[in-house]
Structure formats: C-alpha cells, structure tokens
Amino acid sequence: MAAVPRGLISRFNQFLSIRSVTTSPSESLPHCSFFLLRRFSSDAGLVDGAGSDIVGDPTRIIEAKQGEMSKSSKRTGIIAVKCGMTALWNKWGARVPVSILWVDDNIVSQVKTVEKEGIFALQIGCGQKKPKHLSKSVVGHFRAQGVPLKRKLREFPVTEDALLPVGTSLGVRHFVPGQYVDVTGITRGKGFQGCMKRHGFSGMPKSHGASLSHRSGGSTGQRDAPGKVFKGKKMAGRMGADQRTVKNVWVYKIDPARNLIWVRGQVPGAEGNFVFIRDAWYKKPDISKLPFPTYLAPEDEDPSELEPIVADLGELDPYLLAE
C-alpha cells in the first residue's frame, strides 16, 4: 500500500490536480467526489503525486507467492546481527571456523517501484525499537507502511519478479546451506593508525643509522615539479569503521527455529553490529535450489520444531580420498 501523504496541503494539491485533469464539470463531479471520498476514507490504493495521471496508472499488485528464478533475477538480502565466531567440526572431523549471524525479525518495510521511486527495491527492517527512541518522522514512516518499528533499515535492489509485499517477514531459510553469500558490514574501528598498519608500508630499518623514523611513511612526493603533495597520498589517519564486503562466504548451517546462520570465516564488523547478507555475485548459487522470491513458510509449519540444516558435505571422505 502506498504511503499517501496525509497533510491538509497535500490533500488540497490532490484535489486541485483532480480538478485540472478532469474535463467537464458535469461528468467530473461524481468522479471527483468519488476520488475524494475514497481518499478520505482509506489511504491505500491510489497512486498520488502532483501532476501524475491519477485515473490511468493502476497500482501494482505484489503478492507473496513462489516464482521461478531466472538467470538475471536478483533476490533481496537480509539484515543480521553478528554474534561472534567459534569453530566447529564438520562431518569428516575437519575444523570449520564459523561466524554466527542472528537474523532478528526481518520484515519488508517498503517496496520501491519504477513508477514511483524509479527503481525496484525492497526496504528491509531488522530488530525492534521503541517509539520513544525514534524521531517522529521515522515513526511516521513505519506507521504509514503499517509495519512494526525496526532498528535498522536497509534497501536491497531487486529485479521486478523478486518484489515482495510490505509486511512479509524474511527468515533464515531465504538462504540455503552450501551456497555462497556476500556479507557487508561496517568494520571495526581501529582509531588513528600509522601508515604501516593502515596501508601496509614497510617502514624503515631498525638500525644502521635510521634516525627517528622507523615507522614513518617516508617521502611524500617530488620536488619543485609538481611542488605539492598529491591528493589521496597515503598517510596516517583513522582506520576502520567503514563499509566492506566480504565475498563468497560459504553458508555452513542454518537454524530456522532460532534464525541463526553459521558462515565460514570472518565477516566485517564487531559483535552486535549489523551485517547485510546477499547472494554471492561471483560464485553464483544454483538457481533451482534457492527459494524465490523468498522462503514462504506454509501455514501449518511450526518454526520452533525445525531442526538445524547443515550444508551437504558429500558422501566421500576427503581424507581417505587424498591417498
């Protein structure tokens, strides 16, 4: 349902634009009043916007039902909280270092379409938040969409066939164990760091006469020509706390009852911070196995009864094969 601005001024504008669009008063009056009545009674259904063709453009109906994924379609991602890292033993006794990500109540909070916003995207919200902790504009956004208050919102561009209606909840079963994902997060902040740590400079000798500059950056440029230091010269400064994406992370295990994902390796960020998980771009997963547009739970399924699903490691013991 579209978020229709409900202030008086916008109502006036809509009224005026209806007036301007319609042709003759005799025909248009019931038409207008019909529209006005509809507008006053409910928010939903009508495409608004100053100057847009109100009568003509039908609203897009987006349903949550299973579809076929094609090679060019793109699913949404989900937002998770990084919990920490451990190491597990897999079926063959090998150690797998894992990061545990907790997908806390993801819900679609806004759908962006080409007609209105210019792109196809889904805005996903994660977590909970109290209204006293949010500004009025943000609370108003949630109220207009009819969605509970979320702590983190993030938009994921998708293709048209992967749109989901507002209020669809996403879970961990959106991903399949054994697939690869890209995980984006804000890295840990390291503070003000020297160029050796920040850029990997090798510094200068510890002895042999090097004076007072063992870890410094050395020269910063040439002489009279150009006579300046180029912009972007790598120097000491604040390191960390920027967004990075770790690619091709292997999903080891998911727990649908508790909405946890175990992925192999590291993900950016500290514990307790949000990360955004999407299908991998380079190691594309097998299309037939992914739930598209997302995993829609059947009615009779009780999420608490589900068992964790571990990635399929194959039947042959890799150690015995290596002889």
Binding site: T86, I100, W102, D105, Q128, L260, S304
Partner: protein, 248 residues
C-alpha cells in the same frame, strides 16, 4: 542478582501471579496460541502506548525473540536451588517476551526442572539489551548446547593438569588410524567448545608435547590412569626436568 529478585517481587505485586501458571519460553509463532489466560510471565502491564505496535508488532516479536540477559541462567539456578511451589512464583518471572526459544529447552534440560510454563501475554514490555550483550548471550547459549551435545555422545572425564591420561586418537590425515597416546596433562585451556589440553609424553626417547581439543570428534576415548599431585595449573617446568613428579 538482587535487583532481579526485587524486580520480580515488584512484578508479583502488580500481577498476582498464580502458582499454576506455566512458563513458556516463547518460541516463534506460538504467540497466538499462547496468548491465553495466565498472567504475563514477564514484564509489567506498562505496555506500549502504540496500539498498532501491539497488533502488528507482536507478530514480528513472536518470531525469534532476542535473548534475555544472563538473568535467565541465574534464575534457572535459583530454581534448582530451591524448587518448591511457594518459591516458584518469585523466581520464574523475569523472562521478557523476547526470550530466545531454546533458552527454555536448554535451561530446562540442564537444570532438570520440570517447571511449568507461563503463557506470554500479548502486550509485553519489550526489553532492549544492547545488541552486543545479546550477541554474547547467543554465543554462550550456542556454546553450551554444543558442549552438551558432545557430552551426550561421548563420555569425557574431568581432566586436570597432573593427570596421567591415555587417549585413543583417530587421525584423519593418516588414513584414519586410531593411535594411542599416553602422557601427562601439563596444561588445560578453558574456552567452551574449544577447550584444549596439552599432553607431554616420551616418544622414542624424545619428549613430545601435543595439544588436543577436548571436544573433538577425533578423540575417541579418554581414560584417566593416574592423578599426580601438582601445585600448579601449567606444568611447563617439566620440560627442564626429568622424573620430577614422583609422589601422588
């Protein structure tokens, strides 16, 4: 802990919880079914001012809740300590609606309390912990569960520095041969599932130290042969000595 007790008593006064209530550690969508009768396990009726949050929000809350603090564990231990019908209402209250679903299961399993379940009420005050606290709590729970699972499959005796131990180790790299390792434990590192211990032994006249993860599936069997008396947690001094430990 004291503050938790006092707040639970406060809640008691407000709600008049009856003893026969059941404490349900709310799992995902059992919210709708569980919003029956019995007074709220947790938070006060100072619920949300936003009505819509109640209607809409609860469905989202119903799916996996965040974790409550470590108070849940303490409360279970309190339960264990003095489980009587009169004591129950004081103690089993402080669970917010956002209880992690398996906390109940694991806590109940580990503490062996056949506690009744309190149905969660619909308008519950949502308690927010800092997300990293919740994250740490999740890690603790996962760790505990993983250890429990390993312990049910295999018997792992208590290993302390100074024990003479014999292990049957399966080495996957070596065509899965099961070799017997016998030596003295000189160090133990506690890290939940990744707890390790070091064994020092003489292999063909050469002293060799090896480190083994305690809960590894490759450790087929651990048998404690003898316990030596040591006054230290890490026996690295044995590297310089021979035959240092005589009496036990």
């Amino acid at each position: 802990m004291q503050s938790i007790r006092s707040t639970t008593r406060l809640l008691l006064q407000r709600h008049r919880v009856s003893i026969s209530n059941t404490l349900r550690f709310t799992s995902s969508s059992s919210s709708s079914s569980s919003s029956s009768s019995s007074s709220s396990s947790t938070s006060s009726c100072g619920s949300w001012s936003d009505n819509e949050s109640r209607r809409l929000g609860f469905d989202s809350f119903s799916s996996t809740r965040a974790f409550d603090s470590a108070s849940t564990y303490r409360i279970s231990s309190l339960k264990n300590a003095a489980f009587s019908s009169s004591v129950v209402p004081k103690q089993n209250l402080m669970y917010s609606s956002r209880c992690f679903s398996t906390v109940g299961d694991s806590v109940q399993n580990t503490s062996q309390v056949s506690s009744e379940e309190l149905a969660s009420d619909v308008p519950q005050r949502i308690k927010f912990k800092r997300l990293d606290k919740t994250a740490k709590h999740i890690m603790q729970i996962i760790d505990k569960e993983a250890i429990e699972e390993v312990r049910t499959h295999r018997e792992i005796p208590k290993i302390e520095p100074g024990y003479l131990v014999q292990l049957k180790v399966e080495v996957p790299e070596n065509k899965r041969r099961v070799s017997i390792v016998k030596g003295i434990v000189i160090a133990k590192r506690n890290a939940g599932l990744n707890s390790t211990f070091r064994i020092r032994r003489l292999v063909a006249g050469v002293g060799v130290e090896s480190m083994f993860p305690l809960y590894s599936p490759n450790l087929r069997e651990i048998k404690v042969l003898e316990k030596k008396k040591v006054r230290r947690a890490k026996l690295y001094y044995l590297r310089e000595k021979t035959n240092a430990l005589k009496k036990h």
